[in-house]
Amino acid sequence: LNAALKRTKIEWKPIPVAVGIGFLGAYQFYRIQRREQHTQPESDTAIGKDGAPKKRERIRPSGPWFVQVQIMSTLPLKAASRIWGRFNELTIPYYLRVPGFKLYAFIFGVNLDEVAEPDLHTFPNLAAFFYRTLKPGVRPLDPDHNAVLSPADGKVIQFGLIDNGEIEQIKGVTYSLDALLGSVKPSKRAQPTIQGTPSSTATKAHEEAAVRADEEFANINGISYTLPNLFSGPWSKDGTPSEMPTDQSTTSTASSEAEVRADLALSSTSRPWWAPASTQTATALYYCVIYLAPGDYHRFHSPVSWVVESRRHFAGELYSVSPYLQRTLPGLFTLNERVVLLGRWRWGFFSYTPVGATNVGSIKINFDRELRTNSLTTDTAADRAAEEASTRGEPYSGFAEATYEGASAVLGGHALKRGEEMGGFQLG
Protein backbone atom coordinates (compact mmCIF):
# COMPACT_ATOMS: atom_id res chain seq x y z
CA LEU A 1 0.00 0.00 0.00
CA ASN A 2 2.87 2.31 0.84
CA ALA A 3 4.53 1.64 -2.47
CA ALA A 4 1.28 2.10 -4.33
CA LEU A 5 0.67 5.46 -2.69
CA LYS A 6 4.14 6.66 -3.47
CA ARG A 7 4.10 5.56 -7.08
CA THR A 8 0.63 6.74 -7.94
CA LYS A 9 0.70 9.82 -10.08
CA ILE A 10 -1.63 12.59 -8.91
CA GLU A 11 -3.49 14.46 -11.61
CA TRP A 12 -5.59 17.49 -10.74
CA LYS A 13 -8.84 17.92 -12.72
CA PRO A 14 -11.69 20.42 -12.42
CA ILE A 15 -14.56 19.04 -10.38
CA PRO A 16 -17.93 19.28 -12.16
CA VAL A 17 -19.65 19.84 -8.80
CA ALA A 18 -18.58 23.48 -8.94
CA VAL A 19 -20.40 23.85 -12.23
CA GLY A 20 -23.53 22.34 -10.67
CA ILE A 21 -23.40 24.70 -7.70
CA GLY A 22 -22.93 27.63 -10.04
CA PHE A 23 -25.93 26.57 -12.10
CA LEU A 24 -28.11 26.14 -9.00
CA GLY A 25 -27.03 29.56 -7.76
CA ALA A 26 -27.89 31.21 -11.05
CA TYR A 27 -31.25 29.43 -11.20
CA GLN A 28 -32.02 30.42 -7.62
CA PHE A 29 -31.24 34.05 -8.34
CA TYR A 30 -33.45 33.97 -11.45
CA ARG A 31 -36.30 32.32 -9.54
CA ILE A 32 -36.26 34.84 -6.69
CA GLN A 33 -36.11 37.78 -9.05
CA ARG A 34 -39.05 36.40 -10.96
CA ARG A 35 -41.14 35.79 -7.84
CA GLU A 36 -40.40 39.24 -6.48
CA GLN A 37 -41.61 40.78 -9.69
CA HIS A 38 -44.97 39.09 -9.18
CA THR A 39 -45.28 39.82 -5.48
CA GLN A 40 -47.72 42.54 -4.63
CA PRO A 41 -46.30 45.74 -3.21
CA GLU A 42 -47.83 46.37 0.21
CA SER A 43 -48.45 50.00 -0.56
CA ASP A 44 -51.22 48.90 -2.91
CA THR A 45 -53.28 47.32 -0.18
CA ALA A 46 -52.87 49.54 2.85
CA ILE A 47 -55.97 51.57 3.55
CA GLY A 48 -55.72 54.71 5.57
CA LYS A 49 -58.15 56.00 8.18
CA ASP A 50 -60.05 58.01 5.61
CA GLY A 51 -60.34 55.05 3.28
CA ALA A 52 -57.74 56.36 0.93
CA PRO A 53 -54.76 54.23 0.05
CA LYS A 54 -52.05 54.68 2.60
CA LYS A 55 -48.50 54.65 1.41
CA ARG A 56 -46.42 52.14 3.25
CA GLU A 57 -42.89 51.04 2.71
CA ARG A 58 -42.49 47.49 1.58
CA ILE A 59 -40.25 45.42 3.79
CA ARG A 60 -37.07 45.02 1.88
CA PRO A 61 -33.53 44.56 3.01
CA SER A 62 -31.85 47.88 2.97
CA GLY A 63 -28.74 49.64 4.12
CA PRO A 64 -25.36 48.01 4.37
CA TRP A 65 -26.91 44.54 4.57
CA PHE A 66 -28.67 44.82 1.24
CA VAL A 67 -25.59 43.51 -0.56
CA GLN A 68 -25.29 40.62 1.84
CA VAL A 69 -28.90 39.61 1.25
CA GLN A 70 -28.38 39.84 -2.48
CA ILE A 71 -25.32 37.61 -2.25
CA MET A 72 -27.09 35.14 0.02
CA SER A 73 -30.03 35.09 -2.35
CA THR A 74 -27.80 33.68 -5.03
CA LEU A 75 -26.82 30.74 -2.85
CA PRO A 76 -28.88 27.59 -3.34
CA LEU A 77 -29.72 27.43 0.36
CA LYS A 78 -32.75 25.22 -0.04
CA ALA A 79 -30.88 22.78 -2.23
CA ALA A 80 -28.06 22.76 0.30
CA SER A 81 -30.57 22.18 3.08
CA ARG A 82 -32.12 19.25 1.24
CA ILE A 83 -28.74 17.69 0.55
CA TRP A 84 -27.85 18.23 4.21
CA GLY A 85 -31.07 16.54 5.21
CA ARG A 86 -30.45 13.57 2.95
CA PHE A 87 -26.94 13.28 4.31
CA ASN A 88 -28.27 13.19 7.85
CA GLU A 89 -30.72 10.47 6.95
CA LEU A 90 -27.92 8.11 6.00
CA THR A 91 -27.75 5.22 8.41
CA ILE A 92 -24.82 5.46 10.78
CA PRO A 93 -22.92 2.22 11.43
CA TYR A 94 -24.20 0.67 14.65
CA TYR A 95 -21.00 0.99 16.65
CA LEU A 96 -20.44 4.61 15.64
CA ARG A 97 -23.86 5.81 16.80
CA VAL A 98 -23.23 6.18 20.51
CA PRO A 99 -19.84 7.94 20.21
CA GLY A 100 -21.21 10.06 17.37
CA PHE A 101 -24.30 11.22 19.24
CA LYS A 102 -22.29 11.76 22.42
CA LEU A 103 -19.89 13.94 20.48
CA TYR A 104 -22.82 15.89 19.06
CA ALA A 105 -24.29 16.21 22.56
CA PHE A 106 -20.97 17.45 23.91
CA ILE A 107 -20.57 20.05 21.17
CA PHE A 108 -24.13 21.39 21.19
CA GLY A 109 -25.01 20.85 24.84
CA VAL A 110 -27.62 18.12 24.60
CA ASN A 111 -28.71 16.67 27.93
CA LEU A 112 -28.81 12.97 27.14
CA ASP A 113 -30.42 12.17 30.49
CA GLU A 114 -33.65 13.78 29.23
CA VAL A 115 -33.87 11.75 26.03
CA ALA A 116 -36.79 9.35 26.11
CA GLU A 117 -34.87 6.57 24.44
CA PRO A 118 -31.99 5.61 26.73
CA ASP A 119 -30.29 3.42 24.14
CA LEU A 120 -28.71 5.74 21.58
CA HIS A 121 -28.18 2.78 19.25
CA THR A 122 -31.86 2.97 18.36
CA PHE A 123 -31.36 6.24 16.50
CA PRO A 124 -30.30 5.17 13.03
CA ASN A 125 -29.05 8.58 12.00
CA LEU A 126 -28.61 12.19 13.09
CA ALA A 127 -32.00 13.21 11.70
CA ALA A 128 -33.74 10.75 14.05
CA PHE A 129 -31.64 11.89 17.01
CA PHE A 130 -32.33 15.53 16.18
CA TYR A 131 -36.08 14.92 16.30
CA ARG A 132 -35.87 12.97 19.55
CA THR A 133 -38.58 12.89 22.17
CA LEU A 134 -38.09 13.57 25.85
CA LYS A 135 -38.93 11.52 28.91
CA PRO A 136 -42.36 12.19 30.34
CA GLY A 137 -42.28 14.78 33.08
CA VAL A 138 -38.99 16.46 32.25
CA ARG A 139 -40.83 19.50 30.89
CA PRO A 140 -43.52 20.24 33.50
CA LEU A 141 -46.08 22.84 32.52
CA ASP A 142 -46.39 25.98 34.59
CA PRO A 143 -49.32 25.40 36.95
CA ASP A 144 -50.78 28.86 36.32
CA HIS A 145 -53.46 28.40 33.68
CA ASN A 146 -53.28 32.10 32.86
CA ALA A 147 -49.68 31.73 31.74
CA VAL A 148 -48.48 31.78 28.17
CA LEU A 149 -46.03 28.89 28.07
CA SER A 150 -42.81 28.60 26.21
CA PRO A 151 -43.56 26.44 23.17
CA ALA A 152 -39.99 25.26 22.75
CA ASP A 153 -36.59 24.98 24.35
CA GLY A 154 -34.49 27.93 23.32
CA LYS A 155 -33.36 31.45 24.00
CA VAL A 156 -35.62 34.49 24.13
CA ILE A 157 -34.35 36.78 21.41
CA GLN A 158 -36.99 39.46 21.56
CA PHE A 159 -40.35 40.15 23.13
CA GLY A 160 -42.63 43.06 23.70
CA LEU A 161 -45.72 44.95 22.72
CA ILE A 162 -46.55 45.44 19.07
CA ASP A 163 -46.70 49.11 18.41
CA ASN A 164 -48.64 50.37 15.43
CA GLY A 165 -48.53 47.00 13.71
CA GLU A 166 -44.77 46.73 13.75
CA ILE A 167 -42.43 44.35 15.49
CA GLU A 168 -39.11 45.70 16.59
CA GLN A 169 -36.40 43.26 15.60
CA ILE A 170 -33.45 45.30 16.70
CA LYS A 171 -33.23 48.78 18.06
CA GLY A 172 -34.74 51.09 15.50
CA VAL A 173 -35.43 48.40 12.90
CA THR A 174 -38.92 47.04 12.57
CA TYR A 175 -40.96 44.87 10.30
CA SER A 176 -44.70 44.77 9.95
CA LEU A 177 -47.09 42.05 10.96
CA ASP A 178 -48.38 42.01 7.41
CA ALA A 179 -44.97 41.02 6.16
CA LEU A 180 -44.57 38.29 8.78
CA LEU A 181 -48.02 36.76 8.89
CA GLY A 182 -49.51 37.85 5.60
CA SER A 183 -52.56 40.02 5.43
CA VAL A 184 -55.16 38.90 7.92
CA LYS A 185 -58.78 39.84 7.64
CA PRO A 186 -59.88 41.09 11.04
CA SER A 187 -62.49 38.52 11.81
CA LYS A 188 -65.10 39.11 14.43
CA ARG A 189 -63.14 36.78 16.60
CA ALA A 190 -59.98 38.79 16.39
CA GLN A 191 -61.44 41.93 17.79
CA PRO A 192 -60.61 43.12 21.25
CA THR A 193 -62.25 40.58 23.45
CA ILE A 194 -65.01 41.07 25.92
CA GLN A 195 -64.79 38.85 28.94
CA GLY A 196 -67.07 38.23 31.84
CA THR A 197 -70.64 37.37 32.52
CA PRO A 198 -72.96 37.21 29.52
CA SER A 199 -75.70 39.73 29.23
CA SER A 200 -78.09 40.42 26.39
CA THR A 201 -77.19 44.09 26.22
CA ALA A 202 -73.53 43.34 26.08
CA THR A 203 -74.17 40.62 23.51
CA LYS A 204 -75.86 43.05 21.21
CA ALA A 205 -73.20 45.68 21.73
CA HIS A 206 -70.48 43.21 21.02
CA GLU A 207 -72.18 41.88 17.92
CA GLU A 208 -72.59 45.39 16.62
CA ALA A 209 -68.98 46.11 17.37
CA ALA A 210 -67.97 42.96 15.56
CA VAL A 211 -70.00 43.90 12.50
CA ARG A 212 -68.26 47.23 12.39
CA ALA A 213 -64.92 45.50 12.76
CA ASP A 214 -63.81 46.17 9.22
CA GLU A 215 -64.10 49.88 9.67
CA GLU A 216 -63.42 50.54 13.28
CA PHE A 217 -60.21 51.19 15.02
CA ALA A 218 -58.56 49.55 17.93
CA ASN A 219 -56.89 51.65 20.51
CA ILE A 220 -53.88 49.87 21.83
CA ASN A 221 -51.40 51.37 24.19
CA GLY A 222 -52.92 54.76 23.66
CA ILE A 223 -52.17 54.68 19.94
CA SER A 224 -55.01 54.28 17.52
CA TYR A 225 -54.53 52.05 14.55
CA THR A 226 -56.90 50.10 12.43
CA LEU A 227 -57.00 46.37 12.63
CA PRO A 228 -57.91 46.37 8.93
CA ASN A 229 -54.80 48.44 8.36
CA LEU A 230 -52.77 46.14 10.52
CA PHE A 231 -54.00 43.02 8.83
CA SER A 232 -55.16 44.51 5.54
CA GLY A 233 -55.20 42.45 2.42
CA PRO A 234 -56.77 41.77 -0.90
CA TRP A 235 -60.18 40.85 0.46
CA SER A 236 -63.40 41.25 -1.42
CA LYS A 237 -66.43 42.93 0.03
CA ASP A 238 -68.14 39.70 0.97
CA GLY A 239 -65.28 38.87 3.27
CA THR A 240 -63.64 36.20 1.17
CA PRO A 241 -60.13 36.53 -0.06
CA SER A 242 -60.06 37.85 -3.59
CA GLU A 243 -56.99 35.86 -4.35
CA MET A 244 -56.06 32.59 -2.75
CA PRO A 245 -53.14 30.94 -4.48
CA THR A 246 -53.75 27.35 -3.55
CA ASP A 247 -56.42 25.82 -1.38
CA GLN A 248 -54.88 23.07 0.70
CA SER A 249 -57.65 22.81 3.24
CA THR A 250 -57.21 20.08 5.74
CA THR A 251 -59.66 18.45 8.05
CA SER A 252 -58.25 17.47 11.38
CA THR A 253 -59.66 15.76 14.39
CA ALA A 254 -58.91 17.46 17.64
CA SER A 255 -58.30 15.29 20.64
CA SER A 256 -58.50 18.09 23.11
CA GLU A 257 -61.64 19.92 22.11
CA ALA A 258 -63.38 19.53 25.42
CA GLU A 259 -60.46 20.89 27.38
CA VAL A 260 -59.90 23.74 24.97
CA ARG A 261 -63.57 24.57 24.97
CA ALA A 262 -63.51 24.78 28.74
CA ASP A 263 -60.46 26.99 28.65
CA LEU A 264 -62.10 29.26 26.15
CA ALA A 265 -64.93 29.54 28.63
CA LEU A 266 -67.27 27.85 26.22
CA SER A 267 -70.19 25.97 27.61
CA SER A 268 -71.87 23.08 25.88
CA THR A 269 -74.60 25.44 24.81
CA SER A 270 -74.54 27.47 21.67
CA ARG A 271 -72.81 30.34 23.37
CA PRO A 272 -70.24 31.63 20.90
CA TRP A 273 -66.61 31.66 21.96
CA TRP A 274 -66.50 35.43 21.97
CA ALA A 275 -69.39 35.43 24.36
CA PRO A 276 -69.97 38.86 25.64
CA ALA A 277 -69.51 40.34 29.00
CA SER A 278 -70.53 43.00 31.31
CA THR A 279 -67.09 44.52 31.33
CA GLN A 280 -64.93 45.23 28.38
CA THR A 281 -61.25 44.39 28.54
CA ALA A 282 -58.91 46.39 26.38
CA THR A 283 -56.39 44.17 24.68
CA ALA A 284 -53.07 44.68 22.98
CA LEU A 285 -50.87 42.64 20.67
CA TYR A 286 -47.74 41.08 22.11
CA TYR A 287 -44.93 39.14 20.48
CA CYS A 288 -42.09 36.88 21.50
CA VAL A 289 -39.24 35.40 19.45
CA ILE A 290 -37.48 32.24 20.64
CA TYR A 291 -34.35 30.86 18.99
CA LEU A 292 -33.68 27.13 19.04
CA ALA A 293 -29.99 26.19 18.98
CA PRO A 294 -28.85 23.01 17.18
CA GLY A 295 -28.65 21.05 20.43
CA ASP A 296 -32.11 21.97 21.65
CA TYR A 297 -35.13 19.72 21.70
CA HIS A 298 -36.71 20.52 18.33
CA ARG A 299 -40.34 19.67 18.84
CA PHE A 300 -42.68 22.48 19.76
CA HIS A 301 -45.77 22.51 21.95
CA SER A 302 -48.86 24.62 22.25
CA PRO A 303 -48.23 27.69 24.42
CA VAL A 304 -51.89 28.06 25.44
CA SER A 305 -55.20 26.38 24.85
CA TRP A 306 -56.30 27.73 21.51
CA VAL A 307 -58.02 26.95 18.25
CA VAL A 308 -55.98 26.96 15.04
CA GLU A 309 -58.22 28.14 12.26
CA SER A 310 -55.81 28.30 9.36
CA ARG A 311 -52.21 28.09 8.35
CA ARG A 312 -50.23 29.96 5.78
CA HIS A 313 -47.13 28.56 4.21
CA PHE A 314 -44.67 31.14 2.92
CA ALA A 315 -42.17 29.38 0.66
CA GLY A 316 -39.46 32.01 1.22
CA GLU A 317 -35.82 31.11 1.50
CA LEU A 318 -33.78 29.36 4.16
CA TYR A 319 -31.35 31.89 5.54
CA SER A 320 -29.70 31.19 8.83
CA VAL A 321 -31.66 32.49 11.81
CA SER A 322 -28.73 32.64 14.20
CA PRO A 323 -28.97 35.44 16.77
CA TYR A 324 -26.13 37.23 15.00
CA LEU A 325 -27.99 37.33 11.72
CA GLN A 326 -31.22 38.24 13.49
CA ARG A 327 -29.48 41.26 14.99
CA THR A 328 -27.92 42.35 11.77
CA LEU A 329 -30.40 41.48 9.03
CA PRO A 330 -33.62 43.50 9.22
CA GLY A 331 -36.78 41.62 8.39
CA LEU A 332 -35.06 38.24 8.39
CA PHE A 333 -38.21 36.36 9.38
CA THR A 334 -40.17 37.95 6.59
CA LEU A 335 -37.70 36.51 4.09
CA ASN A 336 -37.46 32.97 5.40
CA GLU A 337 -39.71 30.01 4.79
CA ARG A 338 -42.30 29.89 7.55
CA VAL A 339 -45.61 28.40 8.53
CA VAL A 340 -48.03 30.83 10.11
CA LEU A 341 -50.73 29.24 12.25
CA LEU A 342 -53.56 31.65 12.83
CA GLY A 343 -56.31 31.22 15.39
CA ARG A 344 -57.79 32.48 18.58
CA TRP A 345 -57.58 31.91 22.29
CA ARG A 346 -59.37 33.09 25.33
CA TRP A 347 -58.32 36.69 24.81
CA GLY A 348 -58.65 36.95 21.07
CA PHE A 349 -56.16 36.63 18.23
CA PHE A 350 -53.35 34.10 18.54
CA SER A 351 -50.67 33.10 16.05
CA TYR A 352 -47.72 30.76 16.14
CA THR A 353 -45.02 30.94 13.47
CA PRO A 354 -42.18 28.45 13.15
CA VAL A 355 -39.48 29.92 10.91
CA GLY A 356 -37.20 27.61 8.96
CA ALA A 357 -33.42 27.87 8.64
CA THR A 358 -30.71 26.51 6.38
CA ASN A 359 -29.51 23.77 8.70
CA VAL A 360 -32.99 22.83 9.90
CA GLY A 361 -34.83 22.50 6.66
CA SER A 362 -38.39 21.45 7.18
CA ILE A 363 -41.22 22.34 9.50
CA LYS A 364 -43.65 19.66 10.53
CA ILE A 365 -47.14 20.33 11.85
CA ASN A 366 -48.62 17.18 13.41
CA PHE A 367 -52.21 17.90 12.45
CA ASP A 368 -51.45 19.00 8.89
CA ARG A 369 -50.50 16.07 6.77
CA GLU A 370 -50.70 18.03 3.54
CA LEU A 371 -48.10 20.56 4.55
CA ARG A 372 -44.78 20.17 2.75
CA THR A 373 -42.02 22.59 3.57
CA ASN A 374 -38.58 22.87 2.01
CA SER A 375 -39.97 21.02 -0.95
CA LEU A 376 -39.08 21.49 -4.58
CA THR A 377 -42.71 20.77 -5.48
CA THR A 378 -43.91 23.52 -3.17
CA ASP A 379 -41.42 26.00 -4.56
CA THR A 380 -42.50 25.19 -8.09
CA ALA A 381 -46.15 25.58 -7.10
CA ALA A 382 -45.41 28.97 -5.50
CA ASP A 383 -43.64 30.12 -8.63
CA ARG A 384 -46.55 28.90 -10.75
CA ALA A 385 -49.10 30.62 -8.50
CA ALA A 386 -47.17 33.88 -8.72
CA GLU A 387 -47.05 33.59 -12.46
CA GLU A 388 -50.75 32.78 -12.77
CA ALA A 389 -51.67 35.69 -10.51
CA SER A 390 -49.58 37.94 -12.66
CA THR A 391 -51.28 36.64 -15.79
CA ARG A 392 -54.67 37.43 -14.26
CA GLY A 393 -53.42 40.86 -13.33
CA GLU A 394 -53.87 40.12 -9.65
CA PRO A 395 -51.38 40.47 -6.82
CA TYR A 396 -49.71 37.40 -5.37
CA SER A 397 -49.92 37.13 -1.61
CA GLY A 398 -46.84 34.97 -1.33
CA PHE A 399 -48.36 32.11 0.64
CA ALA A 400 -50.51 29.02 0.32
CA GLU A 401 -53.35 28.84 2.80
CA ALA A 402 -55.26 25.96 4.35
CA THR A 403 -58.12 25.99 6.79
CA TYR A 404 -58.72 23.53 9.60
CA GLU A 405 -61.95 21.95 10.61
CA GLY A 406 -62.35 20.63 14.10
CA ALA A 407 -64.27 17.62 15.27
CA SER A 408 -67.12 19.85 16.30
CA ALA A 409 -68.51 22.90 14.60
CA VAL A 410 -68.47 24.85 17.84
CA LEU A 411 -64.79 25.62 17.87
CA GLY A 412 -64.42 25.89 14.11
CA GLY A 413 -60.81 24.85 13.95
CA HIS A 414 -58.22 22.48 15.31
CA ALA A 415 -58.19 22.62 19.10
CA LEU A 416 -54.90 22.45 20.94
CA LYS A 417 -54.61 22.28 24.67
CA ARG A 418 -51.71 23.93 26.49
CA GLY A 419 -48.55 21.89 26.32
CA GLU A 420 -49.80 19.62 23.55
CA GLU A 421 -47.19 18.76 20.94
CA MET A 422 -47.86 20.67 17.73
CA GLY A 423 -44.98 19.66 15.51
CA GLY A 424 -41.31 20.37 15.13
CA PHE A 425 -38.29 21.17 13.03
CA GLN A 426 -36.63 18.38 11.11
CA LEU A 427 -33.31 18.17 9.36
CA GLY A 428 -33.48 18.56 5.61
Binding site: S150, N221, L285, Y286, Y291, T353
Partner: protein, 48 residues
Amino acid sequence: STVVLVFEAPQGERAVGGGGDGMGRKGGFRWNVEIGRRVRVGEALGVV
Protein backbone atom coordinates in the same frame (compact mmCIF):
# COMPACT_ATOMS: atom_id res chain seq x y z
CA SER B 1 -34.74 27.59 13.82
CA THR B 2 -36.96 30.16 15.41
CA VAL B 3 -40.54 30.51 16.57
CA VAL B 4 -42.48 33.74 16.73
CA LEU B 5 -45.57 34.19 18.87
CA VAL B 6 -47.99 37.04 18.19
CA PHE B 7 -51.06 37.20 20.37
CA GLU B 8 -53.71 39.41 21.78
CA ALA B 9 -53.93 39.75 25.54
CA PRO B 10 -55.44 42.09 28.09
CA GLN B 11 -53.71 45.38 28.16
CA GLY B 12 -54.29 46.35 31.74
CA GLU B 13 -54.74 49.78 33.12
CA ARG B 14 -52.30 52.62 32.98
CA ALA B 15 -50.24 52.63 36.13
CA VAL B 16 -49.64 55.85 37.93
CA GLY B 17 -46.02 56.34 38.83
CA GLY B 18 -44.65 53.29 37.01
CA GLY B 19 -44.90 49.70 38.15
CA GLY B 20 -47.02 47.10 36.46
CA ASP B 21 -45.42 45.36 33.50
CA GLY B 22 -42.59 47.81 33.13
CA MET B 23 -44.40 49.56 30.31
CA GLY B 24 -46.25 51.96 32.53
CA ARG B 25 -49.15 49.57 33.02
CA LYS B 26 -50.49 47.42 35.77
CA GLY B 27 -52.65 44.34 35.47
CA GLY B 28 -53.20 42.78 32.07
CA PHE B 29 -50.45 40.68 30.53
CA ARG B 30 -47.04 40.65 32.21
CA TRP B 31 -43.85 39.18 30.79
CA ASN B 32 -41.81 36.81 32.96
CA VAL B 33 -38.75 36.64 30.73
CA GLU B 34 -35.72 38.66 29.79
CA ILE B 35 -33.93 38.96 26.49
CA GLY B 36 -31.25 36.30 26.21
CA ARG B 37 -32.76 34.06 28.87
CA ARG B 38 -32.96 30.36 28.10
CA VAL B 39 -36.42 28.91 28.38
CA ARG B 40 -37.74 25.39 28.23
CA VAL B 41 -41.02 23.95 27.09
CA GLY B 42 -43.75 24.64 29.62
CA GLU B 43 -42.13 27.58 31.40
CA ALA B 44 -44.23 30.70 31.66
CA LEU B 45 -43.24 33.43 29.22
CA GLY B 46 -45.84 35.70 30.72
CA VAL B 47 -49.05 35.73 32.68
CA VAL B 48 -52.39 37.40 32.15
